[in-house]
Symmetry: C2
Subunit: 217 residues, 2 copies
DNA sequence: GCGAAGAATTCATCACGGTTGAACAACTAC
DNA sequence: GTAGTTGTTCAACCGTGATGAATTCTTCGC
């Protein structure tokens, strides 16, 4: 059926743009940027490939549009920074894991992360976003001489969780529960934010360090 | 000059395979996997594109060959794990930064990291490598009930440094010196390896935590 | 030396990727 | 009702990696 769709505009007013966006969103998240071709996507929607270019300019434009409707990290970050600074490490880790663990959010974020690695422009976007929305504000709240260093390192550690657990899926991180992660990574993040900075001089740092001995249980 | 390179085997015994590999190495590191096309590479070497397929099977085969001659992380890791466990965090960070900061090593590693994000098979390779060569052995040396969790989290933070400083180039991490990074990240890694694991119960964890107060200085 | 086998190299071609310009159909405004 | 705008397809372009056949050089058995 629907043997040969004639040329020209379709009758009625089906919102084809939205359809394309929906299907693209789904497939990008499932198959990644390179896995989706314009033609196959167009076929999925039941439309010519040129129409996608017509609406979104290019494949990258389409991808950007998909990201735009999927990812809004700024709100979450603002919420995090509003709360008590003392508990920020735990809350940050828990929020991050919760957000990334639910597919509706995690998939878009993951494809955004992957794309950012491949595409320098997208990387710059994320870089600036992290800076304005997270690092600078965090540094302000910490205060002190090395606030920027602490904030940067904090973000690095958080980024490491994303990278190893979600992008690379390294065990055991990939299958640890949110609680387990909070318990092991939380204290390290506390150290980064509030702990002493190591003595610059060349000392092995043996006894009398800030934390020592096997874990209590 | 060299107006039209005739068909067939070249006279003499020029090691074209090695030439291709050398140029490919250089260009892959500078321009990334997608930035290098078979034809442009072949033109650079002064050879037909089909010859690359002849020697390396495919573009990915070529890339794998380039990685093969560039990256040998196992040795470095072994050295790290041999030393004193107490000083492992500092040594690990310092070694990592030193290795990645010198272009001859850092560039190949960076392109490997980028490729691993895009290509699931390469990601699996790195994942297994990290596991066998680092996480398992580190967990053995730490000992204790949650050794695996600690080791995984340790690697996660190290990976975060790579991700944010080298792949994403987020400030201020990207321009911190090795010493600065060791000073801020080192203590956190110590906490991960040796510090207490946070109390599972729901407590804000306010006073009496393992590390508290502003930095000395 | 000679001729056959094999290795190295190019050429022509393929299928497929995203993108583009022209043709055409429907809807909107006057 | 006709003119203009918007939506849609078609055909083609050019660049990608890959492949098979044709060609030239090297090597080895005799």
């Amino acid at each position: 059926m629907n043997s040969s769709p004639r040329r020209g505009r379709r009758p009625g007013s089906p919102d084809v743009r939205a359809q394309i966006l929906a299907v693209a969103r789904d497939r990008f998240h499932r198959e990644g940027y390179d896995g989706v071709t314009m033609r196959s996507l167009a076929a999925d929607v039941g439309v010519d490939a040129a129409l996608i270019s017509y609406y979104f300019g290019s494949k990258r434009g389409l991808f950007a549009a998909v990201l735009d409707v999927s990812v809004h990290p700024a709100d979450v970050l603002a919420k995090l920074l509003e709360g008590d600074l003392e508990t920020l490490p735990q809350r940050a880790v828990r929020t991050l894991v919760m957000v990334w663990d639910q597919p509706e959010m995690g998939m878009p974020l993951l494809s955004a992360a992957r794309a950012a690695v491949a595409d320098p422009e997208l990387a710059a976007l994320i870089r600036r976003g992290l800076h304005r929305e997270l690092i600078d504000q965090l540094a302000d709240r910490i205060g002190g001489a090395d606030a920027r260093h602490r904030a940067g390192t904090f973000v690095g550690q958080i980024g490491g969780l994303v990278f190893t657990r979600y992008v690379l899926a390294v065990e055991p991180l990939a299958s640890m529960t949110a609680d387990e992660i909070v318990r092991t990574l939380g204290p390290a993040l506390r150290t980064t934010l509030f702990g002493p900075v190591a003595i610059p001089a060349r000392r092995p740092h043996v006894a009398g360090g800030s934390a020592r001995g096997p874990a209590p249980r």
